[in-house]
Symmetry: C2
Subunit: 474 residues, 2 copies
Amino acid sequence: VSARAVPSYAVGALVDRLVGALGADCVVTDPAAIAPRLTEWRRLYTGTADVLVTPRTVDQVAAALAVAHDLGAPVTPQGGRTGLVGGGVPHGGVVLSLERLSRIRALDVMDATITVEAGVTLASAKAAAADQGMLLPLSIASEGDAMIGGVLSTNAGGTSALRYGSARALCLALEVVLADGRRLDLTGGLRKDNAGYDLKQLFIGSEGTLGVITAATLGLAPALRDVATALAGVADPTAAMAMFRALRDRVGPALTTFELMPRFGYALSLRHIGRADALEAAHPWYLLVELSSPVAGGGLDERLSDWLAAMLEDGLAADATLAANERQRADLWRLRDALSDAQGLAGASIKHDVSVPLSRIAGFIEETSAACTAALEGLRPCVFGHLGDGNLHFNLSQPEGMDRAAFLALWPRFNRIVHDRVIAAGGSIAAEHGVGIQKRDELLLARGPVAIGAMRAIKAALDPRGILNPGKVI
Amino acid sequence: VSARAVPSYAVGALVDRLVGALGADCVVTDPAAIAPRLTEWRRLYTGTADVLVTPRTVDQVAAALAVAHDLGAPVTPQGGRTGLVGGGVPHGGVVLSLERLSRIRALDVMDATITVEAGVTLASAKAAAADQGMLLPLSIASEGDAMIGGVLSTNAGGTSALRYGSARALCLALEVVLADGRRLDLTGGLRKDNAGYDLKQLFIGSEGTLGVITAATLGLAPALRDVATALAGVADPTAAMAMFRALRDRVGPALTTFELMPRFGYALSLRHIGRADALEAAHPWYLLVELSSPVAGGGLDERLSDWLAAMLEDGLAADATLAANERQRADLWRLRDALSDAQGLAGASIKHDVSVPLSRIAGFIEETSAACTAALEGLRPCVFGHLGDGNLHFNLSQPEGMDRAAFLALWPRFNRIVHDRVIAAGGSIAAEHGVGIQKRDELLLARGPVAIGAMRAIKAALDPRGILNPGKVI
C-alpha cells in the first residue's frame, strides 16, 4: 500500500465533520502522532492516513463511520496492532483506533460469560476472568497488547485452540458498527440462538472489512485446577503424530496443547534466553505437551508420565522431561514462547502460517522442507507450531551470510513451493494469522472463483462504498 | 403459505428443462407422489409445488438450481422432513429432495473427521463413526430420520450440545450449491482456517435460504468409555440451577447433559410408556443428568453419586436415582425422550423453543409460567428442555375439555406473553428449532431493523432472484 489513490473527498471536510461529530479531543491530525499508526511492528508494510480518530464510546465509533461513509473515506480499524499480515495498516483516510473502548462491561459466573469492549487487551480480559475463578481459554504470544476487537476480527488461535477452539468458538455475541454507522447490538450471550442468520460469524475473521467490532461476549470455562506439562525429543514428525494419536486416545479433553519445534528453532530459543538444554542430547524435533483440567486431583502428571513411558518404550519418543513444579513448567513454556523472537538471531525469515489435515501433516512437513532446501542452498527451515491443530508456522530462515533483502525478495517463490503443497494437501494458506495485505493475492489463488465471488458479493452487500479496511483480504 | 403467487415461469418449460438437465428418473410430476412433500409431519403447514426433483449427484443438484434460477422458479430443499417450524414446506416451484445424496464419502480417524452427503441420516453418520471407535457428538430425538443437510441448515442442538455445542460447532467444511447452480467446494476439514470469510457459517442455520448444502465434513470425538446417568427430583428451577453450578464446578467437561422436566410432562411420559415412577414420591421438577468421558475408569458414577449426596444434604435435591447399568440408563433416557410425544395425551400444545441466559432462567420460568396460566384458566404449562444450555421448550398444553382449534388460535397471544419476556431477558425466540414459517413474523419483532436489514442484504447478495426457500426465515 505504498501508492495511495487520489481521494474523492476533501480531507479538510473530513476532519471538520469528524471534529463536529466526535469533538476535537477524539480527532488527531498531527502527522507525528499519526506516524506510528502507519507502520506495523515488523515494518513490512507502511500506509498513509489523513486523520486518526480515537473514540471513547460506541456512539462515537458510529458517528465516525457515518461521516466516513457519507464522504467515501477509507476507514482502517486498529486495536493493539500486533497483527502479522498488515491487516491494520491504513490505506488513506481514517485510522479508527478502538483502544479507548476499554471497559469490561460485565462478567457473570453463572452464565460463564464476560462482555468486553474492543479495546480491552486479551490479557486484561483473562485477568478479569481469573479474578472470578474462571478461565478465558485463548492464549497467544501477543496477548498483553492484542485487543479483543482484533483478536476476534482475525479469529486468533494460539496454544490452547486444540482444546477450546479459536476465538470464534468462544464468541457468543458481538456488537458491531456497520460501514454506514448503524449499530448491530449484542444479544444475551446465549449458547443456543438460531434466530435468523448468525451475523456475528461474518465479522469474526473478516479483519475489519465488513464492520467494526466494538464489544463482544465471550464464553468462559472453569479455572484449571490440575495441569501437567512435558517436553519430549522425537526423531521425526511421523513419530510425533503417532504420539499425538496415542495421547488423544488416552486423555480425551484433558489434551490442551501439542506443539512442535525443530532442533534449529529450539537451539535458537536456548541461545535467545541463555539457557542450557532441557534434555541431555540433541533431538531432531521437540514436542511441548500440556494436559489440563478444571477438576483437582485428576492425576494428570501421572497420566502424562504413563504416556511418556509408553512412548519411550515404543521407541517413538527419544527422551522426555516432565515439569515437576510451576517454575519448571514456565521454563518449558519459555522455550516455545521465545521461538518467534529467537528466530531473529538467524537473520531474515520468510514466514507461512498454514494448516494441513492431521493425516497428511507429517508427509507435508518432510516433503515441503525438502523442496524448500532444494530451492536455495543453505536455507534453514524452522517449521514449528500447533501440531495438534494441524497448524504450522512454516518459516524459512535465510542462508548464513546471504543479503537480507535479496533473501526476502524470494518470498513469492517460496509461496509457490509452500502454498501450492498446502493446497494440494487440502490445507489452508491462512490458518490463524489472517490474510491482511500479505496473503491477499495468495487468497485469490487458494480459494477459487466461486468462493471469491461470494465473498465479494457479501462485501458489497455490507460495505457498498468499500470504505472498510480497503486493500485487505479481498 | 396457503395462497400461491402466480408463477412468472411456465410450469411446462420448468419440467422440460429439468428433465433435459437431470434425466426423467430424477423429475417427478405425479401429484400423488408430490403430495406427501407438501405437508410437514405435524400438519401445521401445507404448501404447493409444481415438481419434485430427486438428484443422485451434486452435479444434478447444480443443474436443477441453474434451471430454476434461470426461470425464477422457487426451490425448497428437503431432507428428512423432521423440522418443527415448517422450514421445508414448499412455496410453489421445485421441491428439491437431497435424500438420494446418501454417500458417506470419507472417515479418517487421525483427522477425526467424517465427510457425508446431505441425505445421510444423522443416525447413519453416527453409526459409521461408532464403527471406527469415534463419536459424532450430536443427539436429537429425530436422528433416525433427520438428514445431515437439514441438521446443518437448521443448526440442530439436542441433548449433548452442553458439552459439544450445536451442529455448527461440529462442522469443519461444507459443500454448497449456490442459487445460480455454482458450487462452493469443501475444504480439507481443518481445525484452523482463516483464508477469507468463513462462508460455511452463512449456510449453517439459514434453513436453505442462502444455498443448498450437498455435503459436509464434521469433526468427531473419541468414543465414550465411561458414562454416568441420574434422575433427581427437585423443588423448583432455582434449586435446579444451583445444582447445575455445583456440578459444573465439580466435573468440568465431563458434564454432557442437564435436562429439566416438569411433573406434568414427566407424568405424561410415565403414562405414555406405561411405567411406574422412577422415584418414590412425586416432585415438582425433575433433572436428567449425564456425565461422560472418552477415558475409561474415570469414576464418573462415583463423582455423580457424590454430587447427588451433597445436593440431598444441602436440601437442593429432594430424591435421586443413579442408573446402575445400561438398561436403567436407557429407562431414564426414555422418560425424557418420550416427553414430546407424550404431550399428545394432554391434547393440543402451543410450543415455544427459546433460550435465556442461565443467570435469569429460573426467574424466567416461574414468572412466564405464572403469566401464561393467568391468561387462560386451566392452561397446563409443560416447560422442559436443555436447562444447562439455557434452552427451554416452553410448551403450553390446552385446558382439559377446551376445543383444540380454539386453543391453537391463541398461539399469537401466547407468543406475546412468552417471547416478549424472552426478549426482555436477553434471550432468543428461536433457540434450536429454527425460524421457518412459524417464527418469521416474530423474528422481525425480535431482531430489530439493523439486523434484519443486514440479513436481507446478505440474502439479496447470495440469492438475487429470491428463489431459495421463499417464505422462510426473512
